[in-house]
């Protein structure tokens, strides 16, 4: 039996889906209303899953007293109430789709020292969710 613990966080941010290599028409066709030049926003929910041995002294895989401030610093402070295209360096190189956002948040959290990051899952809305578990296939 394998055990994991998952914690959910929230932030609100704006973005615009636009690829400068494509023409205005192509961007409009590809991204539709997400291409609106003024941008739009979402309430994102980020679900962070950690695995590792349960410490018998604490009963925990990871202490939320350590995880919460780590996520706050690495993700929430950087993304909450921000315009992702302009204020997150990664999205000056790539389109801030939630696929790319999930990968970027995984990258920011993968060095959490107390447990292994297994998965990041993001709900962009209650209808859309995205999941990333690292590049290599995990058993």
């Amino acid at each position: 039996m394998k055990i994991s613990v998952s914690r959910r966080y929230r932030f609100a941010a704006s973005h615009r889906l636009h690829n400068p290599k494509l023409s205005a028409e192509e961007n409009q066709r590809l991204y539709g209303k997400c291409n609106n030049p003024y941008g739009h926003g979402h309430n994102y929910t980020v679900e962070v899953t950690l695995t590792g041995p349960v410490d018998p002294a604490t009963g925990m895989i990871a202490n939320l007293g350590e995880l919460d401030p780590f996520v706050e610093r690495e993700v929430i402070e950087a993304f909450d109430h921000k315009y992702l295209n302009e204020e997150v360096p990664e999205f000056q190189k790539s389109v801030p789709t939630t696929e790319n956002l999930t990968r970027e948040i995984f990258r920011r959290l993968r060095d959490f020292p107390a447990a292994r990051l297994e998965r990041v899952r993001i709900e962009e809305t209650s209808k859309n969710s995205f999941e990333f578990a690292g590049e290599e296939t995990r058993a």
Binding site: M1, K2, I3, S4, S6, R7, V54, G59, L64
Partner: protein, 149 residues
């Protein structure tokens, strides 16, 4: 293979305290969960059983039977209980979401006779859950639990 999932809820009290730590350490490590008067949660438990549907019934396991197992093994044991004092299987352990989920796995695994226990997900709140999954895809389930009792 088909997976079927049944959800059940229970409410219970607990607090976190390790008698090997000083009062200060307990407070530092466990924060407000260390309040000796305890506090409570509405837990939501999702249990998934995997298997092939029986050709006669079309079912992996009758969900009514799974419901009865969850009622008998989990709800009657934990609902409106204080997990530190009233669940002997948790004696000597901190009743964290991880430890409760692992206990639920251990309690349910031998009771599932049709199909195989595949997943136990226990929500302590909407924003925190622990999940136990079967170790090897085709193992017989009884795998050692990563060094855990």
């Amino acid at each position: 293979m088909i997976r079927i999932t049944r959800k059940v809820e229970f409410s219970a009290a607990h607090f976190y305290h390790n008698p090997n730590f000083s009062a200060e350490e307990n407070r530092r490590i466990f924060g407000k969960c260390n309040n000796p008067h305890g506090h409570g949660h509405n837990y939501t438990l999702e249990v998934t059983v995997a298997g092939e549907p029986d050709p006669e019934t079309g079912m992996v396991l009758d969900l009514k039977e799974l419901k009865d197992i969850l009622q008998r093994e989990i709800v009657e044991r934990m609902d409106h209980r204080h997990l530190n004092y009233e669940v002997p299987e948790l004696a000597g352990k901190i009743p964290t979401c991880e430890n409760i989920a692992a206990l639920i796995w251990q309690l349910l695994e031998p009771k599932i006779k049709q199909g195989k226990l595949d997943k136990v997900r226990l929500y302590e709140s909407e924003d925190l859950f622990a999940e136990c999954t079967a170790d090897g895809a085709s193992s017989n389930g009884r795998g050692g639990a990563g060094g855990r009792a």
